[in-house]
């Protein structure tokens, strides 16, 4: 009998706990996260837990987890994945790359696949810094355990040329030493971040109080 017809009890147990696990994420504010550039510890724990469940869970569990993701708090998974790309290099812990990829798999393109791809490029770039890792194999492994539509996007990314996967084509570069390893945005010289914020401010003043 297939799992579709008789889900094992462990699946039910996992699914029944999802609401509680997602709770800290649902109350997360993009406004605060933008300002503090970090996730609250309880949200990191939530995503850690979700990643573990996603990795161990059946397809039903994976789908159920992704169904609970709302575009309103997708950014938490982006932040988690992006931090995974950075921290894996800083700490020499390549296993974090897998967690970052799984966080994106859970987010499952709820927000915008272009934002996911931008972070995929960072994870890929970080993975290439570990000579012991077969980067494409790692990404293909995540393809195998991901659900659509992310699965298709990830596969498409892996199949790109090396140039197409580079962080440069996504407007990113590594930060310059002695600053700690990080990714930063490359902008034309004439356009500083302050200038961008000023421009956005003209249009978003009413909607984005943090830019005031």
């Amino acid at each position: 009998m297939g799992r579709e017809f008789f889900a094992p009890p462990v699946d039910n147990l996992m699914i029944s706990n999802l609401d509680a696990i997602f709770e800290p994420l649902r109350s997360l504010s993009v406004h605060d996260s933008y300002r503090h550039h970090s996730l609250p510890p309880e949200c990191i724990i939530s995503i850690d837990t979700l990643v573990d469940i996603f990795l161990a869970g059946s397809w039903d569990v994976k789908r159920e987890i992704s169904r609970n993701v709302d575009a309103k708090f997708s950014f938490a998974f982006f932040m988690y994945a992006q931090q995974s790309a950075v921290e894996s290099v800083r700490g020499g812990t390549p296993e974090m790359l897998m967690r970052g990829l799984l966080a994106l798999a859970i987010e499952n393109l709820a927000f915008d696949c272009r934002d996911s791809i931008t972070i995929l490029a960072q994870l890929y770039h970080s993975a290439r810094r570990f000579p012991q890792i077969a980067t494409d194999e790692l990404f293909r492994h995540v393809v195998d355990i991901s659900c659509l539509p992310f699965r298709e996007t990830l596969e498409g990314f892996v199949n790109r040329s090396d140039a197409g996967k580079s962080i440069e084509v996504f407007g990113l570069r590594e930060s310059t030493p002695p600053a700690p390893f990080n990714y930063e945005t490359v902008r034309p010289a004439r356009e500083t971040r302050a200038a961008r914020v000023r421009k956005l401010l003209q249009g978003f003043r009413r909607l984005i109080p943090i830019l005031r």
């Binding site: 933008y34 998974f77 696949c113 930063e184 956005l200």
Partner: protein
Amino acid sequence: MSGTGCATSGECVIYDALGRAVEIDKGSTKTEIWYTQLGKNVFMNGTTSTNAYWPTPADGSVNLQGNCPSNCNNYYMHKDWLGSARIVSGVNSHADISDLAFAPYGEIYAQFGVKGPADQMFTGDTEDVVAGTMETPNREYNNSAQGRWISPDPAGAGWNTYAYGTNPNSEIDPSGLIPCCGPGGSQAPIPTYIADPCAPSQPIVPPRFHCQGLVGEEGMDSLGALSGQCVGECFYQNQVDCAFNPGSCLNGPSRTVGSPSVTVTVTNSYQGQTIGGISTDGTQWWYATGPIFPITNPDGSVGFTATPWMPSDTALSQGAAQIVTQVGALTAVPYTGLEVAFGAETLLLPGLGEIGAAGDIADYDTYVIGRLPDTATWEGVPFTNVLNTPAWDLNVQAEWEATAVQGGQPITLASPITEQTVLNPGNPDGFSVFGTEVSNFLNLGYTWEGNFLLPQ
């Protein structure tokens, strides 16, 4: 103040804890207003009901005017997508009582018959206290002053605290506190002062409604007598009103800006009135018209058509169609007939590829940006250009944006501009890809107007 004092000084208004007017005292006349979960429900004069509203299907309502059941007149309030009762007709008489045409911010620019203060007019509000101002729980809206409240926003939000919402075609403000995502009119819940009546970040989708046979149903649309059937699909932005006004395109995404300069005027063939016009060079923009479309007339000549933004319902009901005339440097090609108004889409859409010449409508596609789940709904909509490729990267994006900018194309926003959509703290610069898109266009001189970014 005594009733006499109220009469001497004007009138006295008593408000409840939610800020709703519950009694209006004009000395000899005292009007009490009752509310239910559906909003404003009954006007009473002592023990006599003067106006009561019964909800009807499709967000309409019936106004029971007078002391029912023995001595009253019943009127259908025919509401548009914002809840504005544009036509009031007698339930028993089957006659039009009043017919109002509203400008975007509620100004009545054409009127047939006599409107009553209790008619659920612009966005379903009524003129309870002062004629010419619409009553909301928190402040009065002067619809004749084109988007101005008569008092500032109680929260002091925004740089212009007297301004109505920036997109009156899709938003309503039943509370007087915050533009909300209609429809609803009087059916919309009355928010408390701290509640946010708007649902968070709804995508802006291209309406693609079939007319669903509503045209021609009694009481639904006076045009039904002319068309007798539902014509075509509604492809364009805000064309949610197709049952009421087939062929209308409100702020359509195919607004043409750039060269060559073509000026089109749209006139009403029945009365010969100029309803509006548009110039492709951007020097004029009359909000009475939607996009310009080239068409092939039955005689083989080429014409242009634009649909009136808000046609005179009265004139149309009497048999009017539209004449679309090219003026200026181009030879006038008038064409009269209902088929133009309704047939523009069916004539034009299959013929899009046949036009082919430089400067034709295909060169004026609107570019749609937004989060991909939102822009996906625009794919396949005529005259729109959506970037959705698996090979996406910033170079591809930049080339696409450059094409739009070089052509002076307007940009349609498929996603609302909110914190939720433009920020992404997971990106090193803190902005989502959509936020970066918007930022790029603003940097290139575009200005944000409602659901559009428009070139200078």
